[in-house]
Amino acid sequence: MSTVSEQDKQAFRQEVSAWLQANKPADPGFLLPQSFMEVGSEQQLDFLRAWQHKVWNAGYLGMAWPKQYGGQGVDPVFQSIADQEMRRQAVPICFNVIGLGWAGPLINDIGTEEEKARYLKGILTGEDIWCQGFSEPDHGSDLGNAQTRAVRDGDDYVINGTKIWTTMGNFAKYMILLARTNPAAERKYDGLSFFLAPMQVPGIDPRPIRKLTGEYGFTETFFTDARIPASCLMGEEGQGWKIAMKTLQYERGAEAGAAGGLAFVRIVIDDMIQQLADVERDGAPVLQDPAVRDQLVQLIMEEKAVVLGDRRAGIGPLTTDYPFSLPLSNKLRFTESTRRMRQLAINLQGADGGLYVGDADSRQGGFWQRAYLNSFSATIGGGTSQVQANIIAEHILGLPK
């Protein structure tokens, strides 16, 4: 628990709020990514890198990380407040999310002195972009079955295989890599190892994947006899699964060890209702159509239920039935309701619903069309909704596999 006084928190909130207001960048005139999974051009990258550097330089990123590695060494509650303000003011994202929220906290947590000194600061400044090499083309949801091979050869490991959904793979300097060092291990999980791997070595070929939005943001990354130094191994051989699972715990924000910053532009139901203000349907405002109103209320309730669920999750006597059901179902509820909301937003635009990014007549430059198509990254990535439902059914309700 934080021991910071309410007064100090309040004062800090005002400080960071004022700084953001004064320093929030102007509209750059090109489409900005709504999440770190949408950085497709050098132009976007340069813009976001400059913004993240500015936030760090002002002291609002990695606040809870140690000073000697570029942090501020203060209570994580300050970072949480900074994150909340960034979200509230809808500033651009801090794009280096795999570094800030996965690799960085992990290195900070279990890395050696040398690893900390080498990696942490570059993550915060945005200089060193990190990507993640967990998923494989044939093993999307079944991470434990990863088949990319790492074979020890003298002072190197030789990597062969393919990773997919590598965010910013074509821009990244480092990758957190899950690869199989022992194919003979009895349990598939025990054959995996975890690497902090360089990306700019011969034999690593990241090929950009064009997404359904028409944009880029991910690569499929091919490894052909790529040699990385043996010192890239994190922990010991065979600990890969354990370490990979550990990276997931930092998702809960600064209090859990993440550096902070905004990973997603939050799109809420208010944004959608606002965009409908001048839309007409059957000769009257769409917001007066009873069928539409009924659907909107259902979506408002879905969004509110997630917020209320987060609050109730912290109240012991109200979570006795299935103590982990709220945290475990959160991803499923939130991502599915987001997808439905964005889908309805297009639905309610009338003929404009058929326009896309690039059309001068499209509403908000095709914002909702793009946002809807992108929303599948959340209902598929990190375990599809269907896999999530299986996990909840089996681990919370105790239904058989």
């Binding site: 209320l308 109730r312 039935d321 269907q386 059914a393 309700l397």
Partner: protein
């Protein structure tokens, strides 16, 4: 705390130590006293509940729990009834508590000076009472049809008067010269010939249709004044919330019943719970149960003895909407997932699907509340 300016409005949710204690006590009481066997034994009984268990509920002070100490209550407020209703719903425990609590809340909120109301003290002490509210099947009707003449004679019928057979007092919602009034009628003044037992889809409940015509009341038995209209509005919202709390408990129990069956029943050599077509709807029900609980206790957080404000109204309506949809789906799937067994009286799934149908209409269905919510949320 509220998300300022957002259409989400207030997102406050807290749970007091009093509420936690009440929940704990109520859950074990209901679990012990209202086993499924006990519930089944009462389904086709005349009274529909066990008078001895009702006496124990009175002894624990539940009828007066939400009433102020000045009238002999415990002063815990209506928020403390929410965990009780949830616990009763979970164990399908019947009896006149809901009716009595709503009747006393209506009086409390309509009276200019409740402390002087002798009837409130009687109700706090456990005399069963009920509100005669519905003039027709339309929960959203704005016009009151039951009339109180200038001569003090009532004219009109009420339907679905809950627990009417055991109520010692009726709070009859009527109008006089266009103004809403509450008329207090003792059970002894309502002849048997004016009462007709309803046959309800939820066999754990009892209700009557009552013709109050020609019953003459004294002026002292009429509650009138500026607070009556707002008390009636609050009654409908509190009714919606308490039914929602009860439904949340019933839906949780229904889910447990279904899941238990899916873990034991085998077909084609496999436990049927391993099929995703059955698994995933169970997760949907769980999510609905979770949302119901969140909405219900969020609403409870916003309730006071004062007239309900906008946030509280939104919360009560959302709670009822969510609870209704959740229990309907849970009951419906419970029958289907029990297969042929689910089609029988013997299978417990029928208890929940029947309750779901009663629950959905009580104090307005989901569409009704969403329509009201649309005005509250979208026409700002």
């Amino acid at each position: 705390m509220s998300v300022s300016g957002s259409v989400l409005g207030s997102t406050a949710l807290s749970f007091s130590e009093d509420q936690a204690m009440v929940l704990d006590v109520a859950r074990s009481f209901c679990r012990d006293k209202s086993t499924i066997a006990a519930v089944r034994a009462l389904l086709e009984s005349e009274q529909g509940f066990d008078p001895e268990i009702w006496r124990q509920m009175v002894d624990m002070g539940w009828p007066g729990m939400a009433l102020p100490e000045a009238v002999g209550g415990s002063g815990l407020g209506i928020a403390a009834m929410v965990p009780v209703m949830e616990a009763m719903g979970r164990s399908l425990l019947g009896g006149p508590l809901l009716s009595s609590v709503l009747a006393s809340q209506l009086l409390l909120r309509a009276r200019e000076s409740p402390a002087e109301d002798a009837l409130l003290a009687t109700l706090a002490a456990g005399a069963p009472a009920t509100v005669a509210l519905l003039d027709s099947h339309d929960w959203g009707a704005s016009r009151i049809r039951c009339e109180l003449g200038a001569d003090g004679v009532l004219q009109g019928s009420k339907q679905q008067v809950m627990d009417a057979a055991v109520a010692e007092w009726f709070v009859v919602v009527a109008q006089q010269a266009g103004e809403p009034v509450l008329v207090l009628v003792a059970a002894a003044d309502v002849p048997v010939s004016a009462r007709r037992d309803h046959s309800l889809i939820d066999c754990t409940r009892r209700a009557q249709a009552i013709d109050f015509s020609a019953i003459k009341v004294a002026e002292a038995a009429v509650v009138r004044g500026p607070r009556v209209a707002s008390a009636l509005r609050d009654l409908r919202l509190l009714g919606a919330l308490l039914v929602a709390a009860e439904a949340g408990g019933s839906a949780a129990a229904c889910l447990d019943t279904t899941v238990e069956y899916l873990k034991t029943r085998k077909q084609f050599g496999k436990l049927i719970g391993s099929y995703q077509a059955l698994k995933h709807p169970c997760v949907d029900i769980l999510i609905g149960v979770d949302s119901t609980r969140s909405f219900v206790y969020h609403a409870a957080t916003l309730l006071t003895e004062d007239a309900l404000d906008r946030d509280a109204e939104i919360a009560c309506r959302m709670a009822k909407t969510q609870a209704t949809e959740t229990l309907k789906f849970a009951g419906d799937r419970a029958i289907q997932f029990h297969g042929g067994m689910g089609f029988t009286w013997e299978c417990d799934a029928q208890l929940y699907v029947r309750r779901a149908q009663w629950t959905q209409q009580a104090f307005g269905d989901a569409q009704h509340h969403r329509k009201q919510l649309a005005s509250l949320l979208l026409d700002r």
